[in-house]
Amino acid sequence: MPVNDKNTTSRKKIKVIRKVLDINEKMAQANRELFQEKGVFVLNMMSSPGSGKTTTLEKTLESIATEINSAVIVGDICTSNDANRLSKSGVPVVQVNTDEFGGDCHLAAHVIEKAALGFDLDNIDLLIVENVGNLVCPAEFDIGEDARVVVLSVTEGEDKPLKYPLMFRECDGAILNKIDLLPYLDFDMEAVNNNILQIHPNMPIFEISAKTKKGLTPWLNWLKQKVSEKT
């Protein structure tokens, strides 16, 4: 008698070949097209928590907001403290709290798309996104920006670039902040510059003190140049 085996199974491998971040990439591209159409230069600012991103942004806006129509999207897991600080500059600010999205440790493209609806993009030339303080994840997520900068402070250790190679490779410039504290630290400026350039040869590095405004001018000039090239 033939064996009637009803439990025959077969294993099939189905080719999918799809990027996991496909949806984010498509949204980022849509953002890019919108910002292109509206003539808005988008800067994504990233760093670890406490590097002085918000202070750097405050001082940047103080200097350029009179010349360039600017707006800011601030990302934090919670609180609107940064948005409150930045709105004193007179520039329109939208705060995104990622705890509404599940406590994301980075800003993703769909979040930027929603936040950008809060601005009159026809009258904005520079949109700065202050990302969630995190040296790991934000580098993975394209949000449709034109340029990325990473802010590192001299209180953080010269080997940070080597520990976070993706962030330093993905960014177009690095700001080295809190140089006013150098007399009180054993921080090796030559080492941190070498480490950054090892990961990302020829990366523009801006040594600044956001607090005293020392070194701010080359950073501002770089930013203004980038904005004028697009808008």
Binding site: N7, T8, T9, S10, R11, K12, K13, I14, K15, V16, I17, R18, K19, V20, L21, D22, I23, G102, D104, C105, H106, N134, V136, C137, A139, E140, P161, L162, P165, L166, R169, L197, Q198, I199, H200, P201, N202
Partner: protein, 118 residues
């Protein structure tokens, strides 16, 4: 750090890619390619996936992760090598114009299903 979010995306993509076949079958393994430069820890991803999938049609499925090495190509002299240290400078000609040609992947390559045959 965001392995749970990635795990949830994998579940969504897997379910939608093989939706029609899940009536007669079950996903056994999901084959992923993850580049070594991406900010993900494979073991954490496996852990998060198991937890997230446990209440879905993918319960019991396992991730099989192929870690893709970081390969750089020098745009000046065309030499190519596997980058294992955080140094993106050509070993041959010392140029800093390096293109990373692999190591940034985060993809679902294929999905293995066990189907009952009549």
């Amino acid at each position: 750090m965001h392995e749970m979010g990635i795990a949830l995306e994998i579940i969504d993509i897997a379910e939608s890619s093989v939706a029609s076949r899940l009536k007669e079958g079950q996903v056994e393994r999901i084959f992923l390619k993850i580049g070594k430069l991406s900010a993900l820890v494979p073991e954490s991803l496996e852990f998060c996936f198991e937890a997230a999938a446990s209440k879905t049609s993918l319960a019991g499925a396992k991730l099989v992760i192929e870690e893709v090495p970081v390969i750089g190509r020098c745009e000046a002299c065309n030499s190519q090598w596997t980058i294992t240290q955080p140094v993106f400078i050509c070993q041959k000609c010392k140029s800093g114009s390096i293109k990373v040609i692999s190591g940034r992947e985060l993809e679902i390559e294929s999905i293995e299903i066990i189907e009952k045959e009549d």
